[in-house]
Protein backbone atom coordinates (compact mmCIF):
# COMPACT_ATOMS: atom_id res chain seq x y z
CA UNK A 1 0.00 0.00 0.00
CA UNK A 2 2.78 2.40 0.86
CA UNK A 3 5.06 1.22 -1.92
CA UNK A 4 6.56 3.97 -3.95
CA UNK A 5 5.99 3.31 -7.62
CA UNK A 6 9.38 4.70 -8.62
CA UNK A 7 11.24 2.20 -6.47
CA UNK A 8 9.32 -0.63 -8.03
CA UNK A 9 10.23 0.52 -11.50
CA UNK A 10 13.89 0.93 -10.70
CA UNK A 11 13.84 -2.46 -8.96
CA UNK A 12 12.52 -4.05 -12.14
CA UNK A 13 15.14 -2.42 -14.26
CA UNK A 14 18.04 -3.77 -12.24
CA UNK A 15 16.54 -7.23 -11.84
CA UNK A 16 18.88 -9.87 -13.30
CA UNK A 17 17.86 -11.79 -16.40
CA UNK A 18 15.17 -14.34 -15.54
CA UNK A 19 16.51 -17.84 -15.20
CA UNK A 20 14.80 -19.26 -18.26
CA UNK A 21 15.85 -16.51 -20.68
CA UNK A 22 18.94 -18.21 -22.01
CA UNK A 23 17.12 -21.46 -22.47
CA UNK A 24 14.36 -19.57 -24.21
CA UNK A 25 16.82 -17.96 -26.60
CA UNK A 26 18.34 -21.32 -27.35
CA UNK A 27 14.86 -22.68 -27.91
CA UNK A 28 14.20 -19.91 -30.44
CA UNK A 29 17.41 -20.79 -32.24
CA UNK A 30 16.34 -24.42 -32.45
CA UNK A 31 12.92 -23.46 -33.76
CA UNK A 32 14.58 -21.25 -36.36
CA UNK A 33 16.87 -24.10 -37.43
CA UNK A 34 13.90 -26.43 -37.79
CA UNK A 35 11.95 -23.87 -39.80
CA UNK A 36 14.86 -23.17 -42.14
CA UNK A 37 15.33 -26.90 -42.63
CA UNK A 38 11.69 -27.26 -43.61
CA UNK A 39 11.91 -24.47 -46.17
CA UNK A 40 15.07 -25.83 -47.76
CA UNK A 41 13.74 -29.39 -47.83
CA UNK A 42 10.49 -28.28 -49.45
CA UNK A 43 12.53 -27.08 -52.41
CA UNK A 44 13.75 -30.65 -52.88
CA UNK A 45 10.82 -32.75 -51.85
CA UNK A 46 7.05 -32.78 -51.74
CA UNK A 47 5.58 -31.82 -48.37
CA UNK A 48 3.58 -35.02 -48.11
CA UNK A 49 6.67 -37.17 -48.69
CA UNK A 50 8.78 -35.19 -46.26
CA UNK A 51 9.34 -36.90 -42.92
CA UNK A 52 10.13 -35.38 -39.57
CA UNK A 53 13.31 -37.45 -39.58
CA UNK A 54 14.38 -35.67 -42.80
CA UNK A 55 13.71 -32.28 -41.28
CA UNK A 56 15.64 -33.14 -38.12
CA UNK A 57 18.58 -34.49 -40.09
CA UNK A 58 18.90 -31.28 -42.08
CA UNK A 59 18.31 -29.06 -39.05
CA UNK A 60 20.75 -31.13 -36.99
CA UNK A 61 18.23 -31.38 -34.23
CA UNK A 62 17.28 -34.53 -32.35
CA UNK A 63 13.84 -35.91 -33.16
CA UNK A 64 12.93 -35.39 -29.52
CA UNK A 65 13.94 -31.76 -29.91
CA UNK A 66 11.46 -31.44 -32.75
CA UNK A 67 8.63 -32.80 -30.66
CA UNK A 68 9.56 -30.46 -27.82
CA UNK A 69 8.72 -27.52 -30.10
CA UNK A 70 6.03 -28.89 -32.38
CA UNK A 71 3.39 -31.54 -31.88
CA UNK A 72 3.31 -32.49 -35.55
CA UNK A 73 4.60 -31.63 -39.00
CA UNK A 74 1.48 -29.65 -39.86
CA UNK A 75 2.02 -27.33 -36.87
CA UNK A 76 5.51 -26.51 -38.05
CA UNK A 77 4.29 -25.85 -41.58
CA UNK A 78 1.45 -23.70 -40.31
CA UNK A 79 3.87 -21.51 -38.34
CA UNK A 80 6.23 -21.18 -41.31
CA UNK A 81 3.42 -20.34 -43.72
CA UNK A 82 1.97 -17.70 -41.45
CA UNK A 83 5.36 -16.07 -40.88
CA UNK A 84 6.16 -16.07 -44.57
CA UNK A 85 2.74 -14.82 -45.47
CA UNK A 86 3.09 -11.91 -43.04
CA UNK A 87 6.50 -10.99 -44.44
CA UNK A 88 5.20 -11.34 -48.00
CA UNK A 89 2.24 -9.01 -47.50
CA UNK A 90 4.41 -6.52 -45.62
CA UNK A 91 6.68 -6.36 -48.66
CA UNK A 92 3.69 -5.88 -50.95
CA UNK A 93 2.28 -3.16 -48.68
CA UNK A 94 5.63 -1.40 -48.78
CA UNK A 95 5.38 -1.31 -52.58
CA UNK A 96 2.24 0.82 -52.26
CA UNK A 97 4.26 3.61 -50.63
CA UNK A 98 5.72 4.52 -54.01
CA UNK A 99 3.92 7.47 -55.42
CA UNK A 100 3.55 6.66 -59.07
CA UNK A 101 1.60 3.58 -60.14
CA UNK A 102 4.37 2.00 -62.18
CA UNK A 103 6.83 2.04 -59.27
CA UNK A 104 4.21 0.53 -57.01
CA UNK A 105 3.44 -2.28 -59.47
CA UNK A 106 7.12 -2.81 -60.23
CA UNK A 107 7.98 -3.22 -56.57
CA UNK A 108 4.97 -5.43 -55.96
CA UNK A 109 6.09 -7.63 -58.86
CA UNK A 110 9.59 -7.71 -57.37
CA UNK A 111 8.24 -8.83 -54.00
CA UNK A 112 6.14 -11.55 -55.64
CA UNK A 113 8.99 -12.84 -57.79
CA UNK A 114 11.32 -12.93 -54.78
CA UNK A 115 8.85 -14.83 -52.64
CA UNK A 116 8.14 -17.37 -55.38
CA UNK A 117 11.72 -17.85 -56.43
CA UNK A 118 13.31 -18.03 -52.99
CA UNK A 119 10.77 -20.29 -51.34
CA UNK A 120 9.29 -22.11 -54.30
CA UNK A 121 8.76 -25.32 -52.33
CA UNK A 122 6.84 -23.47 -49.67
CA UNK A 123 4.63 -21.70 -52.22
CA UNK A 124 3.93 -24.97 -54.01
CA UNK A 125 3.02 -26.58 -50.71
CA UNK A 126 0.79 -23.64 -49.78
CA UNK A 127 -1.10 -24.06 -53.03
CA UNK A 128 -1.54 -27.78 -52.49
CA UNK A 129 -2.90 -27.23 -49.01
CA UNK A 130 -5.19 -24.45 -50.14
CA UNK A 131 -6.93 -27.04 -52.35
CA UNK A 132 -8.09 -28.83 -49.25
CA UNK A 133 -7.95 -26.41 -46.35
CA UNK A 134 -10.24 -23.43 -46.31
CA UNK A 135 -8.16 -21.64 -43.64
CA UNK A 136 -5.28 -21.22 -46.10
CA UNK A 137 -7.57 -19.99 -48.84
CA UNK A 138 -8.87 -17.35 -46.47
CA UNK A 139 -5.38 -16.38 -45.40
CA UNK A 140 -4.63 -15.52 -49.03
CA UNK A 141 -8.02 -14.10 -50.01
CA UNK A 142 -8.36 -11.75 -47.05
CA UNK A 143 -4.88 -10.33 -47.40
CA UNK A 144 -5.20 -10.08 -51.18
CA UNK A 145 -8.57 -8.32 -51.07
CA UNK A 146 -7.19 -5.91 -48.50
CA UNK A 147 -4.10 -5.14 -50.55
CA UNK A 148 -6.11 -4.72 -53.74
CA UNK A 149 -8.44 -2.22 -52.11
CA UNK A 150 -5.43 -0.13 -51.03
CA UNK A 151 -4.04 -0.35 -54.54
CA UNK A 152 -7.31 0.80 -56.10
CA UNK A 153 -7.59 3.68 -53.62
CA UNK A 154 -4.11 4.77 -54.53
CA UNK A 155 -4.70 4.60 -58.27
CA UNK A 156 -7.96 6.48 -57.97
CA UNK A 157 -6.16 9.18 -56.03
CA UNK A 158 -3.50 9.34 -58.74
CA UNK A 159 -6.31 9.70 -61.28
CA UNK A 160 -4.26 8.20 -64.04
CA UNK A 161 -6.30 5.12 -64.57
CA UNK A 162 -9.47 4.66 -66.50
CA UNK A 163 -12.08 4.72 -63.73
CA UNK A 164 -14.48 2.44 -65.57
CA UNK A 165 -12.17 -0.56 -65.54
CA UNK A 166 -10.72 0.14 -62.14
CA UNK A 167 -13.10 -1.88 -60.02
CA UNK A 168 -11.79 -3.91 -57.11
CA UNK A 169 -12.97 -7.10 -58.80
CA UNK A 170 -10.89 -6.31 -61.88
CA UNK A 171 -7.86 -5.35 -59.82
CA UNK A 172 -8.24 -8.52 -57.77
CA UNK A 173 -8.35 -10.68 -60.87
CA UNK A 174 -5.20 -9.02 -62.18
CA UNK A 175 -3.39 -9.87 -58.96
CA UNK A 176 -4.48 -13.48 -59.55
CA UNK A 177 -3.11 -13.21 -63.07
CA UNK A 178 0.31 -12.09 -61.83
CA UNK A 179 0.21 -14.80 -59.17
CA UNK A 180 -0.62 -17.53 -61.70
CA UNK A 181 1.95 -16.39 -64.25
CA UNK A 182 4.75 -16.34 -61.67
CA UNK A 183 3.52 -19.67 -60.32
CA UNK A 184 3.92 -21.15 -63.79
CA UNK A 185 7.41 -19.70 -64.18
CA UNK A 186 8.93 -20.36 -60.77
CA UNK A 187 6.97 -23.23 -59.28
CA UNK A 188 5.51 -25.27 -62.09
CA UNK A 189 8.50 -24.29 -64.26
CA UNK A 190 6.58 -24.70 -67.50
CA UNK A 191 9.48 -25.11 -69.96
CA UNK A 192 7.74 -23.26 -72.79
CA UNK A 193 7.24 -20.24 -70.56
CA UNK A 194 10.60 -20.42 -68.77
CA UNK A 195 12.43 -20.51 -72.13
CA UNK A 196 10.91 -17.25 -73.32
CA UNK A 197 10.75 -15.40 -70.00
CA UNK A 198 14.40 -14.36 -69.71
CA UNK A 199 16.16 -13.52 -66.45
CA UNK A 200 14.56 -12.42 -63.20
CA UNK A 201 14.88 -8.71 -63.99
CA UNK A 202 13.24 -9.19 -67.36
CA UNK A 203 10.40 -11.14 -65.79
CA UNK A 204 9.81 -8.42 -63.21
CA UNK A 205 9.76 -5.64 -65.76
CA UNK A 206 7.59 -7.44 -68.28
CA UNK A 207 5.11 -8.59 -65.66
CA UNK A 208 4.91 -5.07 -64.24
CA UNK A 209 4.37 -3.68 -67.76
CA UNK A 210 1.50 -6.09 -68.49
CA UNK A 211 0.00 -5.35 -65.09
CA UNK A 212 0.28 -1.60 -65.66
CA UNK A 213 -1.27 -1.79 -69.12
CA UNK A 214 -4.23 -3.86 -67.95
CA UNK A 215 -4.91 -1.75 -64.87
CA UNK A 216 -4.23 1.70 -66.20
CA UNK A 217 -4.80 1.31 -69.90
CA UNK A 218 -1.40 2.41 -71.19
CA UNK A 219 2.22 1.37 -71.09
CA UNK A 220 4.42 2.84 -68.37
CA UNK A 221 6.52 5.89 -69.36
CA UNK A 222 9.26 4.86 -71.81
CA UNK A 223 12.03 6.34 -69.69
CA UNK A 224 11.25 3.98 -66.83
CA UNK A 225 11.83 0.82 -68.82
CA UNK A 226 15.12 -0.98 -69.23
CA UNK A 227 14.44 -4.04 -71.36
CA UNK A 228 11.72 -2.60 -73.55
CA UNK A 229 14.30 -0.33 -75.15
CA UNK A 230 16.60 -3.31 -75.86
CA UNK A 231 13.94 -5.14 -77.85
CA UNK A 232 13.35 -7.48 -74.91
CA UNK A 233 10.06 -6.04 -73.80
CA UNK A 234 6.50 -7.17 -74.28
Amino acid sequence: MTDNPTTIRSGEATEPEPKGARRQRRGERTRLKIKQALISQLNEQDYFDLTITDICRVAQVATGGFYFHYAKKADLLDEVIREHSAAFWTALDAALHYLDPYSALFHAATALVRAYRDASGLVRCFNQLAMADRAYVELWETAAANWVSHLVEKLKAAEEADQAVLSEANAYSLLSFVDLLLFKIYIERDPGLVDCAGGVDEVIENVAVLWHRALIGCSPPEGRLTFATQNKGV
Binding site: Q128, A169, K184, D190, G192, G198, V234
Partner: protein, 286 residues
Amino acid sequence: MIALEKVRSIEKEFWFCYWLDDDDQKGCARRIGAASIFSGAQGTYRSAGVGWSIGESGRWRQGSAGTDGIAMRQTINPAPDKPERTRQGAKGERTRGRIKAAFADLLGAKSFTSVTIADICRTSDITVGGFYFHFGSQEALLDEVMTEYIEALVGDFEAALEDRPRGGLADAVCGAFLKAYSERVGLARTFQQLTRMRSDYALRWRLASEAAMEMLADRLRAERPDLAPDRARFLAYGLVTMIISRLDLVYVYRDRSGRTGTPPREALGRDLVEFWKRMAAGRDAA
Protein backbone atom coordinates in the same frame (compact mmCIF):
# COMPACT_ATOMS: atom_id res chain seq x y z
CA MET B 1 14.79 -41.33 -71.77
CA ILE B 2 12.77 -40.25 -74.73
CA ALA B 3 9.09 -39.79 -74.34
CA LEU B 4 6.57 -39.23 -77.02
CA GLU B 5 3.21 -37.70 -76.61
CA LYS B 6 0.50 -37.52 -79.17
CA VAL B 7 -1.26 -34.23 -79.57
CA ARG B 8 -4.34 -34.03 -81.69
CA SER B 9 -4.59 -31.03 -83.84
CA ILE B 10 -7.36 -30.21 -86.23
CA GLU B 11 -6.14 -31.87 -89.35
CA LYS B 12 -3.12 -33.80 -88.31
CA GLU B 13 -1.57 -35.57 -85.44
CA PHE B 14 1.55 -34.19 -83.87
CA TRP B 15 4.05 -36.23 -82.00
CA PHE B 16 6.15 -34.29 -79.59
CA CYS B 17 9.38 -35.73 -78.47
CA TYR B 18 10.72 -34.92 -75.05
CA TRP B 19 14.14 -35.66 -73.76
CA LEU B 20 13.87 -36.29 -70.06
CA ASP B 21 17.18 -35.94 -68.38
CA ASP B 22 17.58 -36.70 -64.71
CA ASP B 23 20.11 -33.91 -64.40
CA ASP B 24 17.79 -31.51 -66.09
CA GLN B 25 16.65 -28.81 -63.74
CA LYS B 26 13.94 -30.16 -61.50
CA GLY B 27 12.89 -32.80 -63.95
CA CYS B 28 11.48 -30.43 -66.48
CA ALA B 29 10.78 -31.98 -69.82
CA ARG B 30 12.47 -30.19 -72.64
CA ARG B 31 11.17 -30.44 -76.15
CA ILE B 32 13.75 -31.40 -78.67
CA GLY B 33 11.66 -31.72 -81.74
CA ALA B 34 8.25 -32.14 -83.15
CA ALA B 35 6.99 -34.00 -86.14
CA SER B 36 3.68 -34.39 -87.72
CA ILE B 37 2.73 -37.72 -89.13
CA PHE B 38 -0.09 -38.49 -91.42
CA SER B 39 -0.54 -42.18 -91.21
CA GLY B 40 0.83 -45.06 -89.25
CA ALA B 41 2.35 -44.89 -85.84
CA GLN B 42 5.51 -46.91 -86.07
CA GLY B 43 8.69 -45.85 -87.71
CA THR B 44 11.40 -43.32 -87.42
CA TYR B 45 10.71 -39.65 -87.69
CA ARG B 46 13.18 -36.91 -88.13
CA SER B 47 12.83 -33.28 -87.39
CA ALA B 48 15.25 -30.41 -86.96
CA GLY B 49 18.18 -32.76 -87.00
CA VAL B 50 16.94 -34.82 -84.12
CA GLY B 51 15.91 -38.33 -84.91
CA TRP B 52 13.93 -40.66 -82.79
CA SER B 53 11.84 -43.70 -83.22
CA ILE B 54 8.73 -45.17 -81.84
CA GLY B 55 9.53 -48.62 -80.58
CA GLU B 56 8.17 -51.73 -82.18
CA SER B 57 6.20 -52.66 -79.12
CA GLY B 58 4.49 -49.34 -79.02
CA ARG B 59 2.59 -49.91 -75.85
CA TRP B 60 1.56 -47.46 -73.22
CA ARG B 61 4.29 -47.31 -70.69
CA GLN B 62 4.69 -45.27 -67.56
CA GLY B 63 7.93 -43.43 -67.19
CA SER B 64 9.12 -41.09 -64.54
CA ALA B 65 11.73 -38.45 -64.63
CA GLY B 66 13.74 -36.20 -62.47
CA THR B 67 13.25 -35.10 -58.94
CA ASP B 68 9.94 -33.51 -59.72
CA GLY B 69 8.25 -36.87 -60.07
CA ILE B 70 6.65 -36.20 -63.40
CA ALA B 71 4.93 -39.34 -64.57
CA MET B 72 4.04 -39.43 -68.18
CA ARG B 73 2.84 -41.82 -70.77
CA GLN B 74 5.53 -42.96 -73.02
CA THR B 75 5.25 -44.16 -76.57
CA ILE B 76 1.79 -44.26 -77.87
CA ASN B 77 0.80 -46.62 -80.58
CA PRO B 78 -2.85 -46.05 -81.16
CA ALA B 79 -3.58 -48.54 -83.87
CA PRO B 80 -2.31 -52.11 -83.88
CA ASP B 81 -1.77 -53.14 -80.28
CA LYS B 82 -4.86 -51.70 -78.75
CA PRO B 83 -7.56 -54.35 -78.65
CA GLU B 84 -10.69 -53.37 -80.45
CA ARG B 85 -13.77 -53.29 -78.33
CA THR B 86 -15.40 -56.00 -80.36
CA ARG B 87 -18.09 -56.73 -77.83
CA GLN B 88 -19.34 -53.22 -77.88
CA GLY B 89 -21.20 -51.76 -80.75
CA ALA B 90 -23.17 -48.58 -80.91
CA LYS B 91 -25.00 -49.50 -77.71
CA GLY B 92 -21.76 -49.84 -75.78
CA GLU B 93 -20.67 -46.44 -77.04
CA ARG B 94 -23.97 -44.97 -75.89
CA THR B 95 -23.52 -46.43 -72.42
CA ARG B 96 -19.97 -45.13 -72.20
CA GLY B 97 -21.29 -41.74 -73.22
CA ARG B 98 -23.98 -41.94 -70.55
CA ILE B 99 -21.42 -42.80 -67.85
CA LYS B 100 -19.19 -39.94 -68.94
CA ALA B 101 -22.08 -37.48 -69.01
CA ALA B 102 -23.19 -38.59 -65.53
CA PHE B 103 -19.65 -38.18 -64.23
CA ALA B 104 -19.38 -34.71 -65.76
CA ASP B 105 -22.70 -33.76 -64.15
CA LEU B 106 -21.57 -34.97 -60.75
CA LEU B 107 -18.37 -32.99 -61.04
CA GLY B 108 -20.49 -29.86 -61.26
CA ALA B 109 -21.61 -30.38 -57.69
CA LYS B 110 -18.81 -32.38 -56.08
CA SER B 111 -15.06 -32.52 -56.17
CA PHE B 112 -13.56 -35.34 -58.22
CA THR B 113 -12.06 -36.86 -55.10
CA SER B 114 -15.46 -37.24 -53.46
CA VAL B 115 -17.45 -38.62 -56.39
CA THR B 116 -17.88 -42.38 -55.90
CA ILE B 117 -18.52 -45.11 -58.41
CA ALA B 118 -21.83 -45.73 -56.63
CA ASP B 119 -22.79 -42.10 -57.37
CA ILE B 120 -21.91 -42.52 -61.01
CA CYS B 121 -23.90 -45.76 -61.30
CA ARG B 122 -26.93 -44.24 -59.61
CA THR B 123 -26.92 -41.16 -61.82
CA SER B 124 -26.33 -42.99 -65.08
CA ASP B 125 -28.62 -45.86 -64.11
CA ILE B 126 -26.21 -48.70 -64.71
CA THR B 127 -24.84 -51.44 -62.47
CA VAL B 128 -21.42 -51.40 -60.86
CA GLY B 129 -20.52 -54.39 -63.01
CA GLY B 130 -21.59 -52.42 -66.06
CA PHE B 131 -19.32 -49.59 -65.01
CA TYR B 132 -16.33 -51.91 -64.71
CA PHE B 133 -17.13 -53.46 -68.07
CA HIS B 134 -16.60 -50.07 -69.68
CA PHE B 135 -13.93 -48.53 -67.51
CA GLY B 136 -11.14 -50.24 -65.61
CA SER B 137 -11.33 -47.80 -62.74
CA GLN B 138 -12.58 -44.39 -61.80
CA GLU B 139 -9.14 -43.05 -62.63
CA ALA B 140 -9.56 -44.40 -66.18
CA LEU B 141 -12.90 -42.64 -66.46
CA LEU B 142 -11.41 -39.41 -65.14
CA ASP B 143 -8.56 -39.81 -67.58
CA GLU B 144 -10.88 -40.23 -70.55
CA VAL B 145 -13.23 -37.42 -69.57
CA MET B 146 -10.37 -35.00 -68.99
CA THR B 147 -8.66 -36.00 -72.22
CA GLU B 148 -11.85 -35.19 -74.10
CA TYR B 149 -12.18 -31.89 -72.25
CA ILE B 150 -8.62 -30.88 -73.05
CA GLU B 151 -9.00 -31.91 -76.69
CA ALA B 152 -12.20 -29.90 -77.03
CA LEU B 153 -10.66 -26.85 -75.35
CA VAL B 154 -7.46 -27.01 -77.41
CA GLY B 155 -9.50 -27.66 -80.55
CA ASP B 156 -11.54 -24.49 -79.94
CA PHE B 157 -8.39 -22.58 -79.04
CA GLU B 158 -6.67 -23.62 -82.27
CA ALA B 159 -9.76 -22.92 -84.34
CA ALA B 160 -9.80 -19.42 -82.83
CA LEU B 161 -6.27 -18.87 -84.07
CA GLU B 162 -7.08 -19.48 -87.70
CA ASP B 163 -6.75 -16.48 -89.92
CA ARG B 164 -9.41 -13.95 -89.38
CA PRO B 165 -9.70 -10.23 -89.89
CA ARG B 166 -7.38 -8.12 -87.78
CA GLY B 167 -8.74 -7.46 -84.33
CA GLY B 168 -10.92 -10.55 -84.14
CA LEU B 169 -8.21 -12.57 -82.44
CA ALA B 170 -8.94 -11.40 -78.89
CA ASP B 171 -12.67 -12.11 -79.19
CA ALA B 172 -12.10 -15.55 -80.70
CA VAL B 173 -9.55 -16.77 -78.15
CA CYS B 174 -11.37 -15.35 -75.12
CA GLY B 175 -14.57 -16.87 -76.48
CA ALA B 176 -13.00 -20.34 -76.80
CA PHE B 177 -11.95 -20.40 -73.14
CA LEU B 178 -15.15 -18.79 -71.95
CA LYS B 179 -17.12 -21.48 -73.76
CA ALA B 180 -15.21 -24.31 -72.06
CA TYR B 181 -15.65 -22.79 -68.59
CA SER B 182 -19.22 -21.64 -68.81
CA GLU B 183 -20.65 -24.70 -70.53
CA ARG B 184 -18.79 -27.36 -68.60
CA VAL B 185 -18.20 -25.87 -65.18
CA GLY B 186 -17.66 -29.19 -63.41
CA LEU B 187 -15.02 -30.30 -65.87
CA ALA B 188 -13.36 -26.89 -65.87
CA ARG B 189 -13.09 -26.96 -62.10
CA THR B 190 -11.74 -30.50 -62.09
CA PHE B 191 -9.25 -29.58 -64.78
CA GLN B 192 -8.06 -26.59 -62.77
CA GLN B 193 -7.62 -28.71 -59.64
CA LEU B 194 -5.85 -31.50 -61.47
CA THR B 195 -3.40 -29.20 -63.22
CA ARG B 196 -2.55 -27.53 -59.93
CA MET B 197 -2.29 -30.71 -57.88
CA ARG B 198 -0.82 -33.25 -60.22
CA SER B 199 2.20 -32.70 -62.36
CA ASP B 200 1.07 -35.29 -64.92
CA TYR B 201 -2.02 -33.22 -65.71
CA ALA B 202 0.02 -30.01 -65.79
CA LEU B 203 2.29 -31.72 -68.29
CA ARG B 204 -0.64 -32.95 -70.33
CA TRP B 205 -2.05 -29.44 -70.69
CA ARG B 206 1.38 -28.12 -71.54
CA LEU B 207 1.84 -30.65 -74.32
CA ALA B 208 -1.65 -30.25 -75.68
CA SER B 209 -1.55 -26.46 -75.78
CA GLU B 210 2.02 -25.98 -76.90
CA ALA B 211 1.35 -25.91 -80.63
CA ALA B 212 -1.51 -23.46 -80.11
CA MET B 213 0.74 -21.22 -77.99
CA GLU B 214 3.26 -21.10 -80.83
CA MET B 215 0.51 -20.22 -83.27
CA LEU B 216 -0.75 -17.48 -80.96
CA ALA B 217 2.76 -16.06 -80.62
CA ASP B 218 3.02 -15.95 -84.43
CA ARG B 219 -0.30 -14.15 -84.69
CA LEU B 220 0.78 -11.62 -82.07
CA ARG B 221 4.02 -10.98 -83.96
CA ALA B 222 2.09 -10.45 -87.15
CA GLU B 223 0.12 -7.71 -85.41
CA ARG B 224 3.13 -6.23 -83.64
CA PRO B 225 6.36 -6.71 -85.56
CA ASP B 226 8.30 -4.89 -82.82
CA LEU B 227 8.02 -7.97 -80.59
CA ALA B 228 11.04 -10.23 -80.31
CA PRO B 229 10.09 -13.90 -80.94
CA ASP B 230 10.73 -14.81 -77.30
CA ARG B 231 8.63 -11.98 -76.02
CA ALA B 232 5.81 -12.77 -78.41
CA ARG B 233 5.68 -16.19 -76.79
CA PHE B 234 5.87 -14.64 -73.33
CA LEU B 235 3.00 -12.35 -74.23
CA ALA B 236 1.01 -15.33 -75.57
CA TYR B 237 1.48 -17.18 -72.28
CA GLY B 238 0.65 -14.00 -70.39
CA LEU B 239 -2.62 -13.46 -72.26
CA VAL B 240 -3.77 -17.05 -71.85
CA THR B 241 -2.81 -16.96 -68.18
CA MET B 242 -4.83 -13.78 -67.79
CA ILE B 243 -7.90 -15.49 -69.28
CA ILE B 244 -7.48 -18.63 -67.18
CA SER B 245 -6.87 -16.77 -63.92
CA ARG B 246 -9.98 -14.66 -64.45
CA LEU B 247 -12.18 -17.60 -65.39
CA ASP B 248 -10.82 -19.63 -62.46
CA LEU B 249 -11.87 -16.84 -60.14
CA VAL B 250 -15.34 -16.66 -61.58
CA TYR B 251 -16.14 -20.31 -62.18
CA VAL B 252 -13.84 -22.32 -59.94
CA TYR B 253 -13.52 -20.28 -56.78
CA ARG B 254 -17.03 -18.89 -57.08
CA ASP B 255 -18.65 -20.82 -54.25
CA ARG B 256 -15.59 -20.44 -52.10
CA SER B 257 -15.21 -16.69 -51.92
CA GLY B 258 -18.86 -15.73 -52.16
CA ARG B 259 -17.57 -12.28 -52.92
CA THR B 260 -19.09 -11.98 -56.33
CA GLY B 261 -21.83 -13.82 -58.10
CA THR B 262 -21.23 -15.09 -61.60
CA PRO B 263 -21.33 -12.09 -63.89
CA PRO B 264 -23.23 -12.50 -67.16
CA ARG B 265 -21.21 -14.29 -69.77
CA GLU B 266 -21.27 -11.33 -72.17
CA ALA B 267 -19.94 -8.94 -69.54
CA LEU B 268 -17.21 -11.37 -68.62
CA GLY B 269 -16.29 -11.79 -72.27
CA ARG B 270 -16.10 -8.02 -72.70
CA ASP B 271 -13.81 -7.71 -69.65
CA LEU B 272 -11.49 -10.40 -70.97
CA VAL B 273 -11.27 -8.84 -74.41
CA GLU B 274 -10.65 -5.41 -72.87
CA PHE B 275 -7.78 -6.77 -70.76
CA TRP B 276 -6.40 -8.64 -73.74
CA LYS B 277 -6.39 -5.55 -75.92
CA ARG B 278 -4.76 -3.46 -73.23
CA MET B 279 -2.04 -6.01 -72.57
CA ALA B 280 -1.33 -6.80 -76.21
CA ALA B 281 -1.14 -3.14 -77.23
CA GLY B 282 2.44 -2.09 -77.77
CA ARG B 283 4.24 0.95 -76.50
CA ASP B 284 3.16 2.96 -79.51
CA ALA B 285 -0.46 2.65 -78.51
CA ALA B 286 0.12 4.62 -75.32
